[in-house]
Symmetry: C2
Subunit: 107 residues, 2 copies
């Protein structure tokens, strides 16, 4: 799951789409124009973002609209927070050790 999400984010066109959708939903046609890409090339990026759950798309008539699936970003944020807790826990333990050692010093 994380593999696909990170891979989907590893591309400037896809990150630009995410950034654009942060301002609100948009049609695939408009997004492709903003990316100055042909629709078939752009659709690969849309599919990559959708299959990894970062966006949702819905077709109404001939227009496919994309919107951000904000909740999905939590898997990345959670993973990063988990790593950070590990480092900070380690730093805390180191600080405690240093403090304890200093406290034990004869004054």
């Amino acid at each position: 799951m994380l593999d696909g999400v990170f891979l989907a984010l590893a591309d400037p066109t896809r990150r630009a789409v995410i950034h654009r959708l942060g301002r609100g939903p948009a049609s695939v046609g408009d997004l492709a124009r903003e990316a100055t890409m042909t629709l078939p090339s752009f659709m690969k990026h849309v599919r990559m973002l959708e299959s990894n759950g970062l966006i949702r798309t819905a077709k109404s008539g001939r227009v496919r609209t994309c919107e951000l699936n904000r909740e999905r970003f939590a898997v990345v944020e959670d993973w990063l927070a988990q790593q950070r807790r590990l480092w900070e826990g380690r730093t805390d333990r180191l600080e405690r050790f240093v403090t304890d050692t200093q406290e034990r010093k004869p004054t």
Copy 2:
């Protein structure tokens, strides 16, 4: 820059190395054993992490030690925070609109 960092994170072996190094530096040999990989296969992952700035390595005698470059994770965290500010700004504006509209209703 973000492309390479996200790509480096899009692999379970590399994420496991990052997680392990969160507890402190380790030798390439130990990390490869923990990943149950041959050294040549594992070195590809090490190089990918190092070239994208997520870890630093240093050789002392025959042992290459890896350590996390925590600062590098800020590029990902900053990008995510930037997107989130955009959504939350949008939600704030929407809330203000709803509140303003309700206040203008005749009571």
